[in-house]
Symmetry: C2
Subunit: 425 residues, 2 copies
Amino acid sequence: MHLSRYFLTPLKETPAEAQVISHQLSLRAGLVRQTSAGIYAWLPLGLRVLKKVERIVREEQDRAGCQEVLMPTVQPAELWRESGRYDDYGKEMLRFSDRHAHEMLYGPTNEEMITDIFRQYVRSYRDLPKNLYQIQWKFRDEVRPRFGVMRGREFLMKDNYSFDIDFDGAKRSYDNMHMTYLRTFARMGLKAIAVRADPGAIGGSLSQEFQILAETGESKIFYDAELDSMDINDIEGTRGLYASAEEKHDPATCGVPPDRLREARGIEVGHIFYFGTKYSEAMNATVTGPKGEAITVEMGSYGIGVSRLVGAIIEASHDEKGIVWPEPVAPFHVGLVNLRVGDGACDTAANEIYEKLQAAGVEVLYDDREERAGVKFATMELIGLPWQLVIGPRGLAAGVVELKNRASGESEEISVESALARLVG
Amino acid sequence: MHLSRYFLTPLKETPAEAQVISHQLSLRAGLVRQTSAGIYAWLPLGLRVLKKVERIVREEQDRAGCQEVLMPTVQPAELWRESGRYDDYGKEMLRFSDRHAHEMLYGPTNEEMITDIFRQYVRSYRDLPKNLYQIQWKFRDEVRPRFGVMRGREFLMKDNYSFDIDFDGAKRSYDNMHMTYLRTFARMGLKAIAVRADPGAIGGSLSQEFQILAETGESKIFYDAELDSMDINDIEGTRGLYASAEEKHDPATCGVPPDRLREARGIEVGHIFYFGTKYSEAMNATVTGPKGEAITVEMGSYGIGVSRLVGAIIEASHDEKGIVWPEPVAPFHVGLVNLRVGDGACDTAANEIYEKLQAAGVEVLYDDREERAGVKFATMELIGLPWQLVIGPRGLAAGVVELKNRASGESEEISVESALARLVG
């Protein structure tokens, strides 16, 4: 993509309404634009990140054996009356009537609707277990939306729902999602800590939040310091260590020696729930058992804040110059900087490199704007692509280009061939 | 995917509420489920089709030089007041207030919001042309939703918007989209006819609808019979021939000899508009020209009904036994039928074939259910995968399997190796 033609206008000033760094950087780097309080449009650069996050989430859901569906955003109120949650949910639920005065709502979560779909199609214990997921926009009418896409009102969420014949099956589904979530966040370059949590409006007896550590986090958490040095892939090991949200934490019973107990702030990026028959009983979701008996199915639900993750990743990975995207979610892999647009040698070299990277399937953003070097460098630092490849007249005369790694800040002057070999990998 | 574990329950009976064949088949084949009047959940099989349609639309938008954004579904009423459309739009617009009594709406289209985004970022004539697209859910509160996903209330639409410096540029953008649309529909195995149309609520002076011919179509169209024999890729040729929606048709001035004039019914799957400065003037979207003057930008907008296309494709491609998916949008490429689950030889052969097809990246749905042959054949005909590969004990003893093409109905008994070679291609 040529930056001169791209729909991207980095901002020099930090918008006054943005309090936290991820919100500031996502506005300055032109990732999103607020269209109403807590509601955002995703601009081309931001949408590329959102889609990469979404793809990782989807791949890990598929790998875990979940099947993708897509439910509508608009739901009938009657479903929520059936479960008893319509009156409970409060003002966070956006309610309205259609032209025929039917009461509707913009779904904040989908336990009722998925239970309704399940009971229409699944008849026998032989069809279990089932685990259905979707990645769909939801709406929660937060009283005070803030922190940009981390706490928006309209947000993209992956939610999935497990259906099992008994508690053992449901616990296996729950543990499967626990592991899937740790893998999902690790693939984005994030370390998530699973803390015991309050199930809140979803209900149920077993519930964990997945928290990314960050000073701007909304929740206080307590955890065993052993988790800091733990390999994210040692899952069983991770699961055995103490970690709790503040409201579930009791220093007296936590069992962690005081010198090993850490207190930190976290950003919730995922939440898993086991709630047994709370919805299946209210909504009569049963299957026929081996002896012909009706069995009320055991359910769990699991959520990942897909759009929120874009903010959380920035909180976890930035410096004073801008965003430092982890490679798996970076909008482009390489920023190609032509320091002297209009100079024959620079243009020719940059164009050739651009074509070769494109042909090799490397995602490259080519800064071909007629701007000063300082502006171009600042843009690249701000938008945080993993690699910068800088073409200038002096280097070219000496047969070299500059290859810079955004995360480490290290740069080398090497030949074009070496740079290409490194980037194509 | 193993059908025994897939979330798919084909229905034997045709649901009473479905009047048209695409609606009947999409319910019977388990593609979608209605959750409110005109609002559908996409089940796994249907979602695979929707995503393939979406991908083709996206690829052709990218190829045409459009850049993808994603706007929220919920919009502030004030934007629509600025353009003057808030009061015009009528009851099809779903309106509501948030918890702070701000007037909001569920976007039925996005001219206002994209114009607002454009004016915030784009300053100079040098930044034009720009063409931004999104694929996002929209809501139109139809008074009488019907025909399944072809005329739903919540529907997935690709909409894009062009911004040019003058009429010539805007006309080039319009013609580019005209060609892009014909290519997009052709890639789905559809023949679309672009007819002159009424711009309706969008406004403007130039407008064409893209219609798929079908007896169940809502609109009557008139066109030059030459179009029937025209190569879809002769685009220039196609554009020169007469085609008009009924309300724009005048037999006296159409210029087509009566014996060459065809009358037919069509399903609208796309619509393109040139409306000049209708929105940019009302909303003050200007750029600075070469002499520093303010130039009001020329705009067009372009829509494809992504979820509607799933229905339209079924209307255009089915027979008395079920759906006949064109290969580019088929949910799976091959249906693998094991006629005798539990028989050692059949299971071994089917499993090996399944693994080999999977390894080769061929999308295969393996019917491993313990069902009668008749039920399995009926399922395969109903869901309409392009190829059926049937494994039975008698054939295996003779060293052959049956390979059947859904569209032509032709089948052959060939060796497993030949069948694999054919399907892997």
